[in-house]
Every structure is written in C-alpha cells, then in structure tokens.
C-alpha cells in the first residue's frame, strides 16, 4: 500500500442553525485502504460524507479529496468524476428496469468497465429485465453497488452498504468490496454500524463522536494498543487508581479488577504488580469494546 492520501480533513466544523454537526473533525484515508467510518447515529458521519462530496460547505476547516477541494468549481467536478457514492437509501430510478438503469448510468462514464458489469450481474444474480420498483432491499443494494463498482471510480464512498441485508447477502457485498480493492487500485470509505463486518474487511478505522474523531488508525495497531488487563486477588480487589497513560477505565467486582488500556498492557501491568494480585491476565479486545469505550456518554 502506498502512502498517498485519498481523503484528508483538518479541523472540520459544520454548523446547521444551532447544531454543531462537526466540531474539528480530522480524517486521513490512505490510498488502497478499506476504511471503516464509525460513530453513533448523529455523530456526524453523514455530514462528513456530504462535505467530502461537495454537498455541504464546512463552516471552518479543510477537506481534500485526491488533494483537491470539493468546493472549487473545477476540482469539484474532477472529484465527482472519480468518486462513486452509494447512499444509505440506495437511490435508483424506480421506473427503470435493472438493464435500463445500467445502460443509463454507463452513458455518463467513459471509464465504465463492461467486463466487471457482466461479472457482477452473474455474481449478484441480477436479472436485467426486472423492474427496479419491485426489488427487495438486498437486490437494490446490489444494483446500486454494481453501478458504483463499474464506473471505474478511484474512491468508493458507501453509507451503510449492508444495512437491512441478510447475512448471506451482506457477505456477497463484502466479498465484492474486498475483490474490488484487490483488483481495481481503488479505495473504499464506508460507514457502518456492523462492527463485526468492519473488523472483517477494514484495515483502517475512525470512530467519531459528536463531530470529532476520537479513535483512528490502522486496525491492527489499535488492536495492539487496546488491551484488557484482568487482575484476580485472593481477597476483595483493592480500590486503586491507575495512572499509566492510556488507561480508559478501571472496573472492580469482588476479587476481580478489570482495566481497559489504550496504551498497551505493559505499563499498566508494571504499575499494578505492586498490589500483589494472585494473577494478571492481558487479553485482546474487540472493535466493539473499543467502540463502546470511545463513545461512552460522559455527561
């Protein structure tokens, strides 16, 4: 993977009337990555995507896609030609058939890949004669995805690509995304609430909360940083304060003390050893643990 950056935002603010949707959001999406964009509802995910697509102008701060500003007339057009976006709604023209919407979309994109089109028609088991109107949510998603994948776009922005799909269909979609990044020199930026899916296919993630980035980086590095340290004592666990940098939380229950650290386990283990626990165990945490810990309501 190269060091090129596809999406970069710095101190992005967006205010709607009296709501601060983004409050200094920082993002860096490397070329060739599958980037999982996470946050609770209302955290600012959709606003961020709108800014990247040039559909909402930030109040302050900078956004760059391929190093270009989405808000300058020329670069805005350039960006829109190189980015494919699939919204959560999977907007499609209901009065067309699958074949018609493919032919219609193809006509806008000189880099349309007809081989891929045939591949995905087979892979997704799509009948070109079917009317869009009568399609299930899963099939609609597949059509929307086919249109995005065949455009020859360098960047795919997907808002909740698997929402409302059954597990088999979701797996088909994930497989198409994985194959696309491997074969087409492209980058995928997708928002999702399905943490297990993000864990499965993303190599980079960002978690945002109230318009700010609270966690971001390569997933494997986050996994190495975040550790759960469990201490078991012979008697009641002592009520201790842990000062090691990165300590997120300390929970005490009976003889057991559980510490979540974002600074690796070693510093915490060194610090708590003095309390003479009967055992110390350091265990890895899941993305779900990291997510829940990062978006915890603090007020």
């Amino acid at each position: 993977m190269s060091d090129r950056t596809v999406i970069e935002t710095a101190g992005l603010w967006k205010r709607y009337d009296d709501i601060e949707a983004l409050r200094g959001l920082d993002l860096r999406v490397p070329h060739g990555s599958i980037f999982g964009f996470l946050g609770r509802n209302g955290a600012g995910k959709t606003t961020t995507i709108k800014v990247l697509l040039g559909m909402a102008r930030p109040t302050r701060g900078e956004a760059r896609v391929f190093g270009l500003s989405p808000f300058e007339p020329h670069s805005g057009v350039d960006i829109r030609g190189r980015v494919a976006f699939v919204s959560d709604e999977k907007d499609l023209y209901d009065y067309m058939t699958v074949g018609e919407i493919i032919a219609f979309t193809r006509s806008f994109y000189p880099r349309w890949n007809s081989n891929l089109e045939q591949q995905y028609l087979r892979k997704f088991d799509l009948a070109t004669g079917r009317a869009i109107k009568g399609l299930s949510r899963g099939t609609r998603t597949k059509v929307a995805l086919l249109l995005a994948l065949c455009r020859g776009a360098e960047l795919l922005i997907l808002d909740e690509p698997t929402s409302g799909l059954d597990p088999a269909m979701a797996e088909d979609v994930l497989q198409a995304l994985v194959g696309h990044v491997a074969g087409e020199e492209s980058t995928i930026f997708f928002s999702s609430h399905q943490l297990n899916e993000v864990e499965q296919i993303a190599d980079h993630v960002a978690i945002i909360e109230r318009g700010q980035t609270v966690v971001s980086g390569p997933l494997d590095e986050l996994r190495a940083q975040y550790q759960r340290i469990q201490l078991v004592f012979d008697g009641e666990a002592p009520d201790i304060r842990v000062h090691a940098p990165g300590t997120h939380s300390v929970r005490r229950k009976g003889r057991v003390l559980t510490i979540l650290s974002a600074g690796g386990g070693t510093a915490v283990v060194d610090e708590v050893r003095g309390y003479r626990p009967a055992s110390i165990d350091v265990t890895p945490v899941t993305l779900k643990d990291i997510f829940l810990e990062s978006v915890k309501t603090e007020d």
Binding site: I34, V178, E197, Q200, A224, P277
Partner: protein, 132 residues
Amino acid sequence: MILLKPNPSSGVPIYLQLMEQVKHAIETGALKAGEQLPSIRPLAEELVVNPNTVAKAYRELEHEGVIELRQGAGAFVSDTATTKRDAEKLKAAKVLVAQGIERLRARGITDEEIRRLVEAELAGITEGKRRE
C-alpha cells in the same frame, strides 16, 4: 483450500490468524515445502478479508522464513520452514517461561523456590498443582 475464514471478532488480528493457519498447515503436513500458496486476490475474496491483510500475513511469514515470495510467481512454502518453525517454537516457549516466572515473582515466590518448583515439576514429584 486449507485456509479457513478467520474470526474477525476474536480480538486477534486477522493477519496473525492467517499466519497461524499457514504454520499449522505446514506442521500437519497439509502444506509441504515448495508448495504454492493461493495468490492474494483470490484468497482475500474467498475468505472475505482485506487483501492488504493477506499481503501483510504473507510478508510476515516471509520475514519469519516460513514462505518465500517470488516476484511475479507467488508465494511458496520455504524448504526450511519446518526447522525455522522449531526455532520459533522455542522462542515462543521462552516467552511463556518468562511470563510464568514473572507471575510467580509477583506472588512473592523467590527465584530459589521457583527453581525448585520447576525441577520438581519436571521430575514429576509435585503434590498437586496450585490453582487460584
């Protein structure tokens, strides 16, 4: 295909799970020296994991001498994979021993006592294992 879908929610990085699977396949003889591993794209698609993750697993396996990456030809199990694997086993065992000793020290057991316990354990003369 010998590789299984990794468990993304186990907390263990997927590239490490893939590395373990390859090493295990070599140990059991399911993969033999000189044999070719699947290339990155089909494997990523089959397992539905990030191709960069597969590439990372292969790079790390090459670094450990388990496989060889030949330019343009793909990944192959290296001839010395099994001996390297033995060396690695010892390395892993060393870590386990170090952890065990650390834990015992944390409980206030002296080095002399640890030595005696280890000797006794090896000689099979301990009277039941300590458990917390």
